[in-house]
C-alpha cells in the first residue's frame, strides 16, 4: 500500500476589474463551492483559504490528499431464486448483475433480507488521483453565480468580467484545463502597473510571489493595511477620521496595493452643509472625510490609491482638482437653492408623478397633510402645535425639486430641514421635515419629535394604504416600494412614542383619505383586511425579533390589534409567565372555556341569568360580571398585569364550574344557556389573548 501524501492546491481566476460590490461575495462563493466539490469527490483536505482583489478570485487548499478516498459499496442484486436456476447454475440475470457491477460471478455472495436471500456484490472503486480529478474544478468556475454577467469578444461564455488568466497548481504541477481560450498555467499576474507576470514554482508561494508583484491578495490583510495607514495619519495630523465600514469595504475592493494619502480643499466650502460635503466626497469620490477632535469637519479628505508611495503628489493634486470641481458644483447648487424659499418648490411638485394611478407628489403631500392633521387631533394636539404639524407635512417633500436633492437623492429630508431653516421656518417644523423619512431602514432610529413622528406615520400610511388600494401588495421577496419596511416603521413609531391610539382606527383613517379621492381600485373591506393582515405580520416579526415565542405571538395576535403598545406588552407579559408554574393551569382553564364555547356559535338564543341553576354557575356568572369592565379598563389603560390578575381570579370559579356543571345537558334550553355563558366568559378572556394558542410541551 502506498502512503498518501498531502499537497497544496492553488486556483486563481484572473479577471478584468470586477465590480467592487461583487468581490467579497464571489470569493466566498468560490470557496464554498470548491469545498462542496471536494466533499462530493471524497477528497480530504486540512483547510481552504480564500483570497480576492478586484482582478482575481483565488482559493488555496492546504493538506489536500493526492488521491481520492477508495470506496467500497455493497450492491444488491436479484433474489437467490432468480439468480440460481434449478440445476444450481448462475442464471442470465445473475451474470448480468455481476457484469454490471464489474465483478466476476465467483465474487457474488448471498445475504438474507426480510426472510428472502439475495445476491450481493462488493464493488470496490479505487480512488482516483487528485490531479486528474482537479480538472473538474473547471465546472465549479463555470457554475459561479454573479449578480450581473457579461459576454466579451467572440465567446459565448457569460461571466462577471472577462477571464484573463487561470492558475491551477497542485504543488508544482499545473492542472490543465481551459475556459474561453484561456488555459491554466503557473503564471499569475501582479499589480497592473507595479507588477508583472510571475511564475509560481509551487502553490505555497502564492501570497509571497504576489506580494513581490505589489498585490496584497488577502483582503483581510489589505483592509487592515488601509485601516492602519488611516490610523497613523490621524495620529500624525491630530485628526479624527471616522471609518465608514461600507466605504472601507468598497475601497478595499478597488485596490490591490493600498496607499493612503490626503488632500485638502478650500475652507470656504465648509460653508456648504456638512452632509453635502460628506456625501459628495463619499459617493462620488470614495473619500473619507476628516474631522477634528470635536467632530467638526476639516477641509481635508483621505483617499486610498491603488499603488505605492511614488508620485503621490500627482495623485494628491489630481484628486484635489476633481474635488474642487465637485464642491464648486455643490456650492453652486446650494446657492441656487437658497435663492428661493423652500415653499416655492411646492408648485413644481404638482408636475412630478408619484405613481401613474396615484397622482403627483403634490397630490401625495395633500394626503399626508390631511392624515397628519387627523393624527394630530387623535393625539389631542391643538393650536400652534397642530399648525406646526400641518406646516411640516406641507413642506415634507418640497426639497425634492431642489438642485441638491436632484444631485444627491440620499440627502432628501436633510436638505429640506436645512432649506426650511434658511427660509425662516420654525425649528420644529424643519426637524419634522427631516425626521419624516425616519426610520429609513431597519435598525434606524425613529423620529425623536412628535411632529416628525406624525408626519412620518402619515407619509408611510399613505404609501402603504394607496399601494394596497391599487393592488400593489408585496409578495415573497418582491417589495419594490419597501412597504414592509414602512409598515414596520409605523409600528416602531407608535411604540417608541407610546401612542395609545388604536392602530386599526388610524389605518381606517388612512383608507378613508384614499377612498375619498377615488384611489381605492379594490373593495374597501378587502383592502382593509389585507392591510390588517400585513400589519399583523409586521408586529409578529417585531415580537419574534424581541424574543417572544411564536405561540405567544399567535396568542396575542388573535385578539384585536387595537393599541399596539398594549399588545406588545401583553406578549412580553405572557412570555414572562411561561416560566411561572401556575401559568399552565391558568391556560388550561381558559382554554377549556374557549374550547367549549365554540359549540355556541350556532346557538341563536340570548343568555338568560334566570336559567342558572347551580352555585358554581352563579358564582362564575357573578365573577365574570364583576371583572369584565375592570379587565377592559385595565387593557385600555395598558395595565396588563392588573387585567391578567382579574382574569386569573376566574380560574378557581372555572374549575368549580366544570366540576359541578354538565354543559352539554340533555335539556336544550339549559344546554344552550350554558353554552352562551361559556361564550360570554370566553369573550372576556380572549380580549387578553387567545390562550389556546399557547403550547406546553409534555416535559414542561
Amino acid at each position: 500500500m502506498i502512503l498518501m501524501s498531502k499537497g497544496t492546491f492553488l486556483l486563481e481566476i484572473g479577471l478584468e476589474e470586477m465590480p467592487a460590490r461583487f468581490v467579497t461575495n464571489s470569493m466566498d462563493q468560490l470557496a464554498d463551492n470548491v469545498e462542496d466539490w471536494l466533499k462530493n469527490h471524497r477528497l480530504s483536505f486540512d483547510n481552504i483559504k480564500k483570497y480576492s482583489t478586484p482582478r482575481r478570485l483565488a482559493i488555496v487548499i492546504e493538506g489536500l490528499d493526492d488521491k481520492q478516498a477508495d470506496m467500497e459499496e455493497e450492491a444488491k442484486g436479484p433474489s437467490k431464486k432468480i439468480a440460481i436456476d434449478s440445476e444450481g447454475n448462475w442464471t442470465k440475470a445473475a451474470q448480468g448483475f455481476s457484469r454490471g457491477q464489474g465483478v466476476s460471478v465467483e465474487e457474488l455472495y448471498f445475504k438474507e433480507l426480510k426472510g428472502e436471500e439475495y445476491v450481493f456484490a462488493k464493488k470496490f472503486t479505487e480512488g482516483q488521483s487528485t490531479d486528474v480529478l482537479l480538472k473538474g474544478l473547471k465546472d465549479v468556475i463555470l457554475s459561479m453565480q454573479f449578480p450581473k454577467n457579461m459576454k466579451w469578444g467572440s465567446h459565448n461564455l457569460k461571466y462577471v468580467r472577462p477571464i484573463k488568466w487561470l492558475v491551477a497548481l497542485f504543488d508544482s504541477k499545473v492542472i490543465p484545463f481551459g475556459i474561453a481560450d484561456v488555459h491554466t498555467n503557473n503564471t499569475t499576474l501582479g499589480h497592473r502597473f507595479l507588477g508583472g507576470f510571475a511564475t509560481l514554482m509551487k502553490a505555497d508561494d502564492y501570497i509571497n510571489v504576489l506580494m513581490g508583484e505589489h498585490v496584497i491578495v488577502d483582503p483581510v490583510e489589505r483592509k487592515l493595511a488601509i485601516r492602519q495607514q488611516i490610523t497613523e495619519l490621524s495620529a500624525v495630523e491630530g485628526w479624527n477620521i471616522p471609518i465608514d465600514e461600507d466605504l472601507l469595504e468598497e475601497v478595499n475592493n478597488l485596490v490591490e496595493y493600498p496607499t493612503v494619502l490626503y488632500g485638502s480643499f478650500d475652507e470656504r466650502y465648509l460653508n456648504i452643509p456638512e452632509e453635502v460635503l460628506i456625501t459628495s466626497m463619499r459617493e462620488h469620490q470614495r473619500y473619507f472625510p476628516v474631522k477634528d477632535g470635536d467632530g467638526k469637519l476639516l477641509p481635508y479628505f483621505v483617499t486610498v490609491r491603488n499603488g505605492d508611495h511614488r508620485h503621490l503628489d500627482n495623485v494628491r493634486k489630481g484628486n484635489e482638482k476633481v474635488l474642487r470641481a465637485r464642491l464648486a458644483d455643490a456650492e453652486f447648487f446650494y446657492q441656487e437653492d437658497l435663492k428661493k424659499p423652500l415653499e416655492e418648490g411646492l408648485k413644481r411638485l404638482e408636475s412630478i408623478v408619484y405613481h401613474v394611478e396615484l397622482g403627483s407628489i403634490g397630490d401625495k403631500v395633500r394626503r399626508i397633510k390631511e392624515l397628519a392633521l387627523t393624527l394630530g387631533k387623535d393625539l389631542d394636539m391643538t393650536g400652534e402645535r397642530l399648525a406646526k404639524v400641518e406646516r411640516a407635512a406641507l413642506l415634507s417633500k418640497a426639497d425634492l425639486v431642489t438642485h441638491m436633492v436632484g444631485e444627491f437623492p440620499e440627502l432628501e429630508g436633510r436638505m429640506g430641514e436645512e432649506y426650511a431653516l434658511k427660509s425662516g421656518e420654525d425649528e420644529e417644523v424643519a426637524k419634522g421635515i427631516y425626521e419624516h423619512y425616519l426610520p429609513k431602514q431597519a435598525g434606524d432610529e425613529p423620529p425623536a419629535t412628535d411632529i416628525g413622528a406624525i408626519v412620518s406615520v402619515s407619509d408611510k400610511l399613505d404609501t402603504v394604504v394607496t399601494s394596497f388600494g391599487i393592488g400593489l401588495i408585496p409578495t415573497g421577496s418582491q417589495d419594490p416600494h419597501g412597504l414592509r419596511r414602512q409598515t414596520a416603521g409605523i409600528v416602531q413609531i407608535f411604540l417608541t412614542h407610546g401612542w395609545d391610539l388604536d392602530l386599526i382606527q388610524v389605518l381606517t383613517e388612512g383608507i378613508d383619505v384614499a377612498e375619498k379621492r377615488g384611489l381605492l381600485k379594490r373593495d374597501k373591506e378587502s383592502v382593509k383586511e389585507d392591510l390588517v393582515e400585513f400589519l399583523k405580520l409586521r408586529v409578529k416579526n417585531l415580537l419574534q425579533e424581541q424574543g417572544v415565542r411564536y405561540d405567544v405571538v399567535d396568542a396575542v395576535l388573535k385578539t384585536d390589534l387595537g393599541q399596539i403598545k398594549t399588545l406588545v406588552n401583553k406578549a412580553h407579559f405572557l412570555q414572562d409567565q411561561l416560566v411561572n408554574p401556575e401559568f399552565k393551569q391558568v391556560v388550561e382553564a381558559f382554554s377549556r372555556v374557549t374550547n367549549i364555547s365554540k359549540k355556541a356559535t350556532d346557538v341563536r338564543v340570548d343568555f338568560d341569568s334566570n336559567l342558572l341553576e347551580g352555585e358554581a354557575e352563579k358564582e362564575l356568572y357573578n365573577s365574570v360580571q364583576e371583572v369584565q369592565a375592570k379587565v377592559r379598563d385595565y387593557l385600555k389603560t395598558g395595565k396588563i398585569s392588573f387585567a391578567y390578575e382579574e382574569l386569573k381570579g376566574l380560574v378557581p370559579k372555572i374549575h368549580d364550574y366544570f366540576d359541578n356543571t354538565m354543559v352539554m345537558a340533555e335539556d336544550t334550553t339549559l344546554r344552550n344557556n350554558r353554552l352562551k355563558q361559556m361564550q360570554e366568559t370566553s369573550k372576556i378572556i380572549t380580549t387578553f389573548a387567545d390562550f389556546q394558542s399557547i403550547v406546553f410541551h409534555s416535559e414542561e
Binding site: E16, E17, M150, K151, P162
Partner: protein
C-alpha cells in the same frame, strides 16, 4: 499637450491598432455612441474597428459658458472594436501613455459603471476609468444594441476630451484650455456655448419642437417602410435631439418623458432590426473582407 495634439495622438494610436479613422457624423447627437458608425455597425457579426471625434450636444448641461466644467457641447473621442480584443485594457492604457500619462505616476482605476441608453435600447457593462480620482473615460462592453444581443461583443472606449485635456494642461476652466498654439477652447467655443444655452433654455419654441418630434418620427417610420435604414436612423437622431431640447426646457413631465423615450427606443429597435436584415441579405460582406484579420 494641446487639444489638437491630443486628438492627433489618439487618432494615430488607434490607427496603428487597425482602426479606421473616420469623422464625426453630421446630425446632432448626445453621444458618440449614436453615430451610425457605432450604433449600426456594432450590430451583427461583422468585425468593425473605428475611431473618431464626436462633438456631442447635451442641451440640459448648457451653462451659458459660465460654468468651468459643464458644457452644452463637449467632445468625445470614440473607439469601437468588434469583436473586443483580449488586450483592450492594455491598448487603452498604452494610449494614455501616448498622451503623456504614465500610469505608474498616477492612480488609474477601473471602477464599475454600467452603461445604458434607454433611447437606443442599448446597454453594456464596463467601467469608468479614473485618473487620480477623475473620470476620464467610459469603457463599455456592449451587451445589447437596438434590442439585439451583441454577438460578437463590441467594446466602446469613450474619452472625454475636455476632462482629459483639463487634467493634462492643468486648467481649472475648460475655456482656458489650449486648443492649439494661440487659440483657447473659449476662442473656439465660448460663443457657441452661450448661444446654444440661451437658445435651448429660453428661445426654442417648444410647440415647434413637439411638432418636429412627431414629424421626424413619422418620417423615420415611412423611410423604414422603404427599407432605407440609414436615412431613417438620421430621423431617429433628430427625434432624440429634439427630445433633449424639450427636456432641457422642462417641457416634458415625468410621465410623458417615459413615453417619449419609449417612442425613440421603438424607432431605434426598428432600425437595428432592419439594419441586421439588410446586412444579412447582403451576406454580411465585412465577414469576407480580405485583410480584416487584424484581431484574433
Amino acid at each position: 499637450m494641446n487639444v489638437q495634439d491630443m486628438i492627433l495622438t489618439l487618432q494615430k494610436f488607434w490607427s496603428k491598432q487597425n482602426c479606421l479613422i473616420l469623422q464625426a457624423y453630421d446630425v446632432e447627437k448626445g453621444a458618440g455612441t449614436m453615430n451610425p458608425m457605432t450604433f449600426l455597425r456594432s450590430i451583427g457579426p461583422e468585425p468593425w474597428n473605428v475611431a473618431y471625434v464626436e462633438p456631442s450636444r447635451r442641451p440640459a448641461d448648457g451653462r451659458y459658458g459660465e460654468n468651468p466644467n459643464r458644457l452644452y457641447q463637449h467632445h468625445q473621442f470614440q473607439v469601437i472594436m468588434k469583436p473586443s480584443p483580449d488586450n483592450i485594457q492594455e491598448l487603452y492604457l498604452n494610449s494614455l501613455r501616448e498622451l503623456g500619462i504614465n500610469p505608474e505616476e498616477h492612480d488609474i482605476r477601473f471602477v464599475e459603471d454600467n452603461w445604458e441608453a434607454p433611447t437606443l435600447a442599448a446597454w453594456g457593462l464596463g467601467w469608468e476609468v479614473w485618473l487620480d480620482g477623475m473620470e476620464i473615460t467610459q469603457f463599455t462592453y456592449f451587451q445589447q444594441v437596438g434590442g439585439l444581443d451583441a454577438s460578437p461583443v463590441a467594446v466602446e472606449i469613450t474619452y472625454g476630451i475636455e476632462r482629459l485635456a483639463s487634467y493634462i494642461q492643468n486648467k481649472e476652466n475648460v475655456f482656458d484650455l489650449e486648443w492649439v498654439n494661440g487659440f483657447t477652447y473659449g476662442d473656439v467655443f465660448l460663443q457657441n456655448e452661450y448661444e446654444q444655452s440661451k437658445y435651448s433654455f429660453e428661445i426654442a419654441d417648444s410647440n415647434m419642437l413637439f411638432n418636429l418630434f412627431s414629424t421626424y418620427e413619422r418620417e423615420a417610420k415611412r423611410t423604414l417602410e422603404a427599407n432605407l435604414v440609414i436615412p431613417a436612423y438620421d430621423y431617429v437622431l433628430k427625434c432624440s435631439h429634439v427630445f433633449n431640447l424639450l427636456d432641457a426646457q422642462g417641457a416634458i413631465s415625468v410621465t410623458e418623458r417615459t413615453g417619449y423615450i419609449g417612442r425613440v427606443r421603438q424607432l431605434a429597435r426598428e432600425c437595428a432590426k432592419h439594419y441586421y436584415e439588410i446586412r444579412e441579405s447582403l451576406g454580411f460582406p465585412m465577414l469576407k473582407k480580405e485583410g480584416n484579420d487584424t484581431h484574433e
